[in-house]
Symmetry: D2
């Protein structure tokens, strides 16, 4: 059985900017998916912002084990309904990986509950990622650090909730640091944020970066059945209580009714 | 100096339901605020859903050190703009305490990034809260457990992110358990969820419950200056980099420009 | 490839107490191992306190992917050297599962850094375990709760550090609650504590309990190579610094020397 | 009321090394204590390794609200009994701050349950500390980053458990990063690790460093009464169960007896 990955690409820079199109003639999402398809046990395909419902219909999400998200220039063009649908899919058990500027995407902000802001500089400077969690599945097969000669800088403070685990921290030539590999769990879904990937540099052609993304897919994959309704709040009537109790005192609700939401 | 608390009350049940009005002739929010005003170093007042902008204007939030939220029947009547304003105030450093059915309020769901669902039963059954974090500031002055003879049951799983700390866990006569005192940090703001407080029982007259809420206020209070803009994502131009670097490679952005959001 | 499990049994009650011997004619550790050997992809064997070096030689630990620990009456008879060896194996990547009264074992206390204390009562009362982390790998295949009709009670507060994740919470008929399924990471090793398993009740014959232990084994298994020395603190001389720097100011140490420990 | 701080100094380098003695004519611990004594609401004094019981008698610990620990060359000379006594004091509610090379001290390793290792280089290079938790009490009054022109490098991976909160991350000129301000809770005690402070540089004369340590003292202070016995594991006999239960099945223990440890 193969892990089914959908790579969501904003697909704006590739169409409008010659530099980006030159680095990624097969688009960024296409490059990421192609690298994943060279891995055993992973099958990746792509959808984009421009597709109907941004390519993220309920059917598509139901068939996606892990969603990868890259967006930058058009966060605001993603419909609120699709962003909420993605969040619900995560709660039901879909894994999700947010790349680079997806820190400001609607689904990431929705899942974090924080501003997700940071400082930044686009100078093609050297980034060095240090593994902070030795032998973590997301760091599988990596050296203790690796470098990207040209990257955009993201600097702390990063406006996120404390993560479950910090897997990578980046050093930048200009003097900043950044928590660049972080995990959370939201409902039944595993969430991984990975920092590198500015569109004007060839980051997604880098073998270490490709390794991290493939590792992240395997880590984020939850083989359990997807929850049918991850938001349900069931009433448990007195008559079916696990221990014998008698109803006492006044009440507002009827047995088995829907609660207020 | 006193900690300025605003107690936000939905104020629906007290107006519509004779049982609730009988238990809380001064309303639930009024009862909570009155108990806090008996504490040294705390000054509490109230606002309600029915007030203009639900009483939560930017000015009011700027003067609120800790906001307490009780809502149940009318979560949907809270405007999205006010919910977002509350979240931003938390990120900027305002403390917030969510009580009981506020688990489904817009601000709580916004700050958690999860469904915040649970199971429930309204049978007036016994709840026993156990302190799980000994000598935690929120458990100050409490015995190792305390009971509420009549409460609504909330049962696990509780659809929240892993908390920073688990302070209380509840036992219910009907056979369920629930993490009933939980902390998180969101931006510069401290968040505390406290389970008890169903409107048809006299929970907010209970001295242990009052003690927890007052402790929670002191814990949630962040004496630091409020962040002017907790969502800012500043560009740091090459010319002002902390270490001398030279710009290299192509770029999309101009120095000092606003990034995409 | 199979996950190699070693079940460590204290093996005292089974030899001295007729009730325990009657419930577990194949010993407790033998029963646990037999259940694991019925799982695909897991190979389990046993060692005991009475074996040379308690059965936990360096060679044995090197060939153990996941160690399961059950002890109660003879925690003090475990040698400090073996306890430390177990901790180092965990740091290097061996998974470990502590069962029931192993909360007071030397390796658990060593790995937690806390007292690991709790309250307790031996009355054969009903325990009900609630899943708090839906679709977590350790809860795979379980209902939302399950019961053990006769168990020893363990009550909060449980003297442990905040866990990475809370997977189960127990309800007890006598009125207590307990966090009964908890995870941590220590170095490269995954740690799982699971509460049930008092020696005078048939807990390890229960299929749900067996399911949790098998799930725990798969969760705790780290397929990465074991770290050769998980405690090393390497000096990185100036000459091999990743960025060009010059030595400045006074120093105490010589290049490449061992630091103080 | 004043927070009573005890600064524990190893006091070896100051006596043996002219460079260190020149930078710290009043010793390192003396310098740290003097800075704290300039703060309102803090009273600091010092003890050293060479004192009877290293200055850390039960009486002294009982009168210490927050202990600060600096050690490097003589970790092994600290008696195991005193290290365990310090851990117990923390569990009972004493705050503790570990500075720099105290990452390898016995009490820190005991409280963490991990190797606490790292990589290092003594080159007097520039360290820049970034605040990662905005408006955190430990970062009170600090700019968003500050620099130490000459420091020893500590590099990731840092062999610690995931912290409660990451407050600072350091950038080093030679290319490494390090989580340099971290918090944990152990029992009723708050634990703070702060990285800077190599003995051959004037770090503890730096006003930002002094600010962090004073903030850390206020954060670590737990005003609650110290727990008399933080390791107790009380038996709760059936007769005094909170809910009426009857004893069922066989048992090993007598009512009220001490459990096995």
């Amino acid at each position: 059985m193969s892990i089914r990955v959908t790579v969501w690409g904003e697909n704006v820079h590739e169409q409008k900017n010659k530099v980006v199109a030159g680095i990624y003639p097969d688009t960024m999402h296409g490059t990421i998916a192609a690298a994943l398809n060279r891995e055993s046990g992973i099958t990746a395909s792509t959808v984009t912002l421009q597709d109907v419902e941004h390519g993220l219909t309920p059917e598509r999400l139901a068939e996606t084990d892990v969603l990868i998200w890259w967006g930058h220039a058009a966060h605001g063009d993603v419909s609120d309904a699709v962003a909420e649908r993605v969040a619900e899919a995560v709660w039901s058990g879909m894994g999700i990986i947010f790349l680079h500027s997806a820190h400001f995407s609607k689904p990431f902000k929705r899942l974090m509950g924080t501003p997700c802001n940071l400082s930044w500089r686009e100078a093609g400077e050297r980034e060095r990622l240090w593994v902070t969690a030795r032998q973590h599945p997301i760091a599988r097969g990596l050296p203790d650090h690796f470098e990207l000669e040209h990257e955009e800088m993201y600097g702390e403070p990063f406006g996120i909730p404390e993560p479950l685990e910090t897997v990578f921290i980046s050093w930048f030539a200009g003097g900043e640091v950044f928590r660049s590999g972080l995990t959370w769990r939201r409902g039944a879904g595993n969430v991984f944020y990975f920092r590198p990937g500015h569109e004007t540099y060839p980051t997604y052609h880098d073998t270490n970066v490709q390794r991290v993304i493939a590792n992240g897919v395997r880590w984020a994959f939850n083989p359990e059945a997807r929850l049918a309704d991850p938001t349900t709040a069931p009433n448990r009537p007195v008559a079916s209580a696990l221990e014998p109790i008698e109803e006492r005192g006044p009440r507002l609700h009827h047995d088995g009714e829907e609660g207020y939401r």
